[in-house]
């Protein structure tokens, strides 16, 4: 999908209505995409300004994340997001303030009280299961949540995301197989941005698509355009429906572009061509979705600007709050090794 073709199509049809999404829904989706992007860019700036020591970016993957999260129900479902899934945790209830508190590693950070790097999400209140840095470990946890829910008769979906590189870890394989055997309500969501840090697809995987792997676990796998939030929403909705109907897990792969280096510690110029990156930027999903919303009359230039201004104000306030918020006390580091 590129911006133009999407816009043109939209003149004749509101694709989102066919998916059961109202105009309000897609405006919300867009707002979340803009908020995700805004927070991401702000954190990157703060890192460059030396104010936060580390950032991992989701820039370019917002459409996939918001499309996926909108197919879930934050009151019913559980998410086990990977470090880039900022958009998902926002939809699940984390706020700009929460995100900034985490970036500044402040005591009020809801994920970890400033113990973990940003991007290590967790919040029981919001059904976001605590995550770590070693990749793919969350995938079996999602299966365990689905198993536990099934045992207790709770009707829910466990969503877990990971990069295509992380689909090479044994834990992905073992977890997917376990979920397949037990027909568990899990959605495995792969954000394929074609790189694992510097390692390009051809050195990561020998199969055409990560979704080819689903057949080895007895459940369906699909690959969708991750720059199109509606396409992702649709594929996810099908997966969620299957899960809720007791038909078992699904693997949804969203093809995306990583518009930033891997993290604030990375420099991608040694391994990625300028042309490739520029081409990716032309596919920026925020622009194409905006164009779609404008083209089908859901947003106007003014309402879109107002939305952006609101989001920016939110981010500014969050940044200001988090910057002045206190760090945790040093000795508190001794707490919560075990239950107290």
């Amino acid at each position: 999908m590129n911006a133009q073709s999407l816009g043109v199509k939209a003149m004749t049809e509101k694709r989102h209505e066919k998916l059961g999404l109202t105009d309000q829904d897609v405006i919300k989706m867009y707002r979340y995409m803009v908020l995700t992007r805004g927070l991401d860019e702000r954190m990157w700036l703060l890192n460059r300004a030396g104010k936060v020591p580390f950032v991992v970016s989701c820039k370019g993957q917002e459409a996939a994340q918001i499309g996926a999260a909108f197919a879930l129900n934050p009151l019913r479902d559980y998410v086990l997001p990977y470090y880039r899934d900022l958009g998902v945790v926002l939809v699940f209830g984390q706020t700009a303030k929460d995100v900034m508190l985490s970036a500044f590693a402040k005591s009020e950070d809801p994920n970890s009280g400033g113990r973990q790097m940003p991007g290590h999400f967790g919040s029981r209140e919001h059904h976001i299961v605590t995550g770590s840095s070693p990749v793919s470990t969350q995938i079996p946890h999602a299966v365990g949540i689905a198993l536990a829910a099934k045992m207790k008769g709770d009707r829910l979906v466990a969503y877990t995301s990971f990069g295509e590189g992380s689909s090479n870890q044994g834990d992905f394989h073992e977890a997917a197989n376990f979920a397949g055997v037990h027909h568990l309500p899990v959605v495995f969501f792969c954000e394929n941005n074609k790189y694992a840090i510097s390692v390009p697809l051809r050195k990561e995987l020998a199969c055409e698509r990560v979704s080819d792997r689903a057949a080895g676990y007895g459940f369906p796998g699909v690959t969708v355009d991750g720059n199109d939030p509606l396409a992702v929403y649709q594929a996810m909705q099908e997966a969620v429906t299957r899960a809720l109907n007791g038909e078992g897990p699904s693997l949804v792969e969203a093809m995306v572009d990583r518009l930033n280096p891997h993290s604030s510690d990375d420099d991608d110029r040694t391994y990625r061509s300028k042309e490739e990156l520029e081409e990716a930027k032309r596919q920026d999903p925020i622009f194409s979705f905006r164009d779609y919303l404008l083209a089908c009359g859901v947003l106007t230039e003014e309402s879109e600007r107002a939305l952006r201004d609101e989001v920016t104000a939110d981010i500014n306030a969050a940044t200001a709050y988090a910057e002045q918020a206190p760090y945790p006390e040093p000795e508190q580091a001794l707490r919560y090794v075990f239950a107290e």
Binding site: S112, T137, D171
Partner: protein, 327 residues
């Protein structure tokens, strides 16, 4: 009180706790119709069904990882690793995940998980069905490591482990399963995690050990008694957290300490026990702190002469006791 086999008391703990608490379930390889390769879970699938007694695919990282997810959701999984040697594929899930969930979430999430595994040698298990693995985990903050020596402790500690709000590794010595039996209290009772057990009191030297070696040390102590040497014998029961008070008290009492374990010597649990004593009771000692442990070879060979060579046994312990007593 009923005299029960070690294995039966573990079975009973599982069965009774599954009856008491709907949230408890068992997952592992062959735990279902086969009842486990050692028969610890025999009959559970018949009573509790396939949903609570799960024959998992052959993948330890998933067995533990899935159990972690279920624990985070609020259930009480008891994962079985078929042999302790095969816990290694699950080490990342245990150390990076189970041990750190509470800490990394600042107390928001937790992981009330039990991982059971039969360990230890002397049963013709060869290199990969004989190992002791506690030293890999006793160093890891966030984990508790329990290693009962008696049937009574096995049941009481397993009930404590299942009810513990944090992850507990529960290692059962294979050679104890059908060899040791003792008085087990009837019904529900717990033995606290982190408390050692004074097996016998003595004046001349202190032996600190755990697991199968408790029994061999007892045999040796009875032998030494005949020779006029009286032995204070401490069964650690929990190797993490260690019962520092009991260790220090026992060490100070006689001033001579022999630490015994089946696991390889270097970097074993005995090193930490020794270091605690050397740090906090040095001037109460009348002799160097001795360790009698498995040799530093990868594991126990299959052929009988070399398996015997590896194993610490009551004669070797008696020999070490004599040496220390004579010091």
């Amino acid at each position: 009180m009923t005299v029960k086999l070690y294995i039966d008391s573990i079975h009973d703990a599982l069965q009774e706790e599954m009856r008491r608490d709907q949230g408890v379930f068992v997952v592992g390889e062959d735990v279902g119709v086969r009842g486990g390769v050692f028969r610890v879970t025999q009959g559970l699938i018949e009573e509790f069904g396939e949903m609570r007694v799960i024959d998992a695919p052959l993948a330890e990282s998933a067995i533990v990882g899935v159990a972690i997810g279920a624990a985070a959701y609020g259930l009480k999984p008891v994962a079985e690793i078929q042999f302790a040697d095969f816990i290694l594929p699950a080490v990342n899930q245990i150390i990076s995940e189970a041990a750190k969930m509470r800490y990394r979430s600042n107390n928001d999430w937790s992981c009330p998980l039990v991982v059971r595994a039969p360990y230890g040698g002397g049963v013709h298990g060869a290199l990969y069905h004989s190992q002791s693995v506690e030293a890999l985990f006793h160093h890891v903050p966030g984990l508790k490591v329990v290693m009962p020596a008696t049937a009574a402790d096995a049941k009481g500690l397993l009930l404590s482990a299942i009810r513990d709000p944090d992850p507990v590794l529960f290692f059962e010595h294979k050679a104890l399963y059908r060899w040791v039996k003792d008085d087990v209290p009837d019904g529900d009772y717990t033995v606290p995690i982190g408390k050692a057990r004074l097996v016998r009191e003595g004046e001349d030297l202190t032996v600190i050990t755990y697991g199968l070696m408790v029994h061999y040390a007892e045999e040796a102590a009875r032998e030494l008694e005949k020779e006029g040497v009286s032995i204070e014998l401490l069964d650690l029961r929990t190797v993490s957290p260690l019962d520092r008070e009991a260790i220090l008290a026992a060490a100070k009492k006689t001033g001579k300490v022999l630490i015994v374990h089946e696991d390889n010597k270097t970097g074993g649990v005995g090193a930490e026990v020794s270091a605690i004593i050397a740090e906090e009771a040095l001037f109460d000692l009348d002799a160097p702190i001795a360790r009698l442990c498995g040799p530093d070879i990868p594991a126990m060979p299959f052929n009988p002469p070399q398996e015997r060579f590896y194993m610490v046994n009551s004669e070797k312990i008696a020999q070490a006791m004599r040496k220390l007593a004579a010091f």
